[in-house]
């Protein structure tokens, strides 16, 4: 709970500025709401971006960081294209989502958050995405039996894709990749370290 001493103060805003991708733009919002109205998944947001920006200013840290809303972003960039103040809203939403995940405040079983991690893990294995493995990971993310169900439900789709040669069962054996996944991993690990090091503690 935010107390009166945090309400409408800069504390959370400063935290967002320091730790969230493009967070320094949040203060520039003028509450026109064009982002909220432009989002293709808009109706699924409990709090549209402009409202989230206001909540940040109002010091509603918990409500923002435990919200499911940021994960609704499809990266369509409508909000960025239309924002009259030039806020990189897509990136701020991604940043807030990742930050809430980093702090462990993200809602449980958020499917997009899980998918994001699966995608990342998948690409980091060989440097390129293995669609088949990724798809299977996605199906099986909630356990084996749910995975079978999911796979069955999408069976026809898979068969169609195989037929069209746009899915290859052999991919399960390995698939495409960069020459030295280890080198890439080293690079990314370093990047991750730097990023982690930049995070400031506001707790």
């Amino acid at each position: 709970m935010s107390t009166n001493s945090q309400k409408y103060r800069n504390s959370f805003l400063k935290e967002v500025e320091a730790n969230v991708e493009e967070g320094e733009w949040v203060k520039m919002c003028m509450q026109c709401g064009v982002c909220a109205g432009s989002c293709p998944l808009g109706k699924h947001w409990d709090h549209p971006p402009q409202e989230i920006f206001m909540m940040i200013r109002a010091g509603k840290r918990d409500e923002v960081l435990t919200s499911d809303s940021m994960w609704m972003c499809t990266s369509c960039y409508n909000c960025i294209a239309r924002c009259p103040r030039g806020l990189p809203i897509t990136h701020i939403m991604h940043g807030l989502a990742v930050y809430s995940k980093r702090l462990g405040l993200m809602p449980d079983n958020q499917p997009t958050a899980e998918f994001g991690q699966i995608f990342w893990d998948n690409l980091m294995k060989k440097g390129r995405v293995n669609e088949l493995k990724m798809g299977l990971s996605m199906y099986f993310k909630d356990g084996f039996s749910q995975g079978i169900k999911n796979a069955m439900a999408n069976q026809k789709l898979g068969q169609n894709m195989m037929k069209a040669k746009r899915m290859n069962a052999m991919e399960i054996m390995g698939g495409h990749g960069v020459k030295s996944p280890g080198d890439l991993a080293k690079i990314i690990k370093k990047a991750q370290e730097i990023e982690d090091g930049n995070i400031q503690d506001f707790s």
Partner: protein, 299 residues
């Protein structure tokens, strides 16, 4: 027509056996016809797509693209990077711009890249394949190449999101880009300028994680194509193509519709119109067959 040589970033989905492998085939055919040489960036990696942020955060994600740019700058020096994939193009261009704007970020990325012995300069232009067509080749030149005009075909130009925003193509508007319609016209087919869903989001990566929400939007896109009398949809984006094509069975089940709308790439259209066969146009790569194109290709 001057020969064009580009540093090529095909992206994961266009690899053999991946969702847009047919895009790559038709794009290569198209480039052959237009005398465009594509020099693949050696050892390129995934760009992180639009969902990589969920696992990789900011700097790791930007570093992925910085590596590709660094590789291109090293091995394909002097060549502009081109990608046929919306997300690949967007991420790469975004990384280039963000790192150039932010000195600290650039330094950090290079510190990371140094682990693999690479250095990002960020001087190279990053372009989408369509930009090359529109800006360097031109609609008239495309028209001139047409051997089999796609007469009588009514094609809805579905631009989608990331080929269009935030960067856009050749000064086109975010809300009503017209280049696909112009390509459709150039290859002799009928465009549908009134197709109101041309920049509607298909859900992108959320088609996996939020299938119901995404399929609701895809349903709207296909419905609008039907309402406008389209024979097929054309798109420049692999994820759009996949999302709009492959879920039609599931959508039919959910919504009680009978959608059977082919979704092809602009490169498919051009390959056929330029007189190439169905295989070169990768028409076999479609789940919903573009029969009318197949007919023309086989003539």
């Amino acid at each position: 027509m001057a020969k064009i040589e580009l540093s090529f970033y095909p992206g994961c989905s266009s690899q053999k056996g991946a969702t847009s492998s047919n895009y790559l085939v038709s794009a290569q055919t198209m480039c052959e016809e237009l005398d465009i040489t594509l020099n693949e960036i050696p050892d390129w990696n995934c760009c992180g797509a639009s969902i990589g942020y969920g696992g990789g955060g900011e700097l790791p994600r930007l570093t992925l693209s910085a590596r590709n740019i660094a590789l291109s700058e090293e091995h394909n020096a002097g060549q502009e990077i081109v990608s046929p994939c919306a997300a690949c193009w967007l991420n790469t261009r975004e990384a280039k711009e963000r790192l150039n704007e932010d000195e600290k970020m650039m330094q950090d990325a290079n510190t990371a890249l140094a682990e693999g012995g690479l250095r990002f300069k960020g001087e190279v232009n990053v372009r989408h394949m369509v930009e090359v067509l529109v800006e360097d080749i031109g609609f008239d030149a495309i028209k001139d190449k047409v051997k089999k005009p796609l007469e009588g075909l009514k094609i809805a130009g579905y631009v989608g999101c990331q080929t269009n925003r935030p960067f856009g193509i050749a000064g086109e508007s975010f809300e009503n880009p017209q280049y696909l319609d112009k390509i459709v016209e150039a290859v002799g087919a009928d465009s549908i300028p009134t197709f109101e869903k041309k920049v509607q989001c298909c859900g992108g990566a959320l088609a996996f994680s939020e299938p119901e929400k995404s399929q609701e939007m895809i349903h709207g896109i296909i419905e609008a194509a039907y309402d406008n009398g389209a024979d097929m949809i054309v798109t420049p984006c692999p994820l759009c193509q996949a999302n709009v094509e492959i879920y039609q069975d599931q959508i039919n089940e959910t919504y009680g519709t009978k959608f059977d709308m082919p979704v092809v790439y602009y490169s498919t259209l051009m390959s056929v119109a330029f007189g190439r066969n169905a295989q070169d146009a990768a028409l076999n790569g479609h789940i919903i067959k573009a029969k009318k194109l197949e007919e023309i290709a086989s003539k």
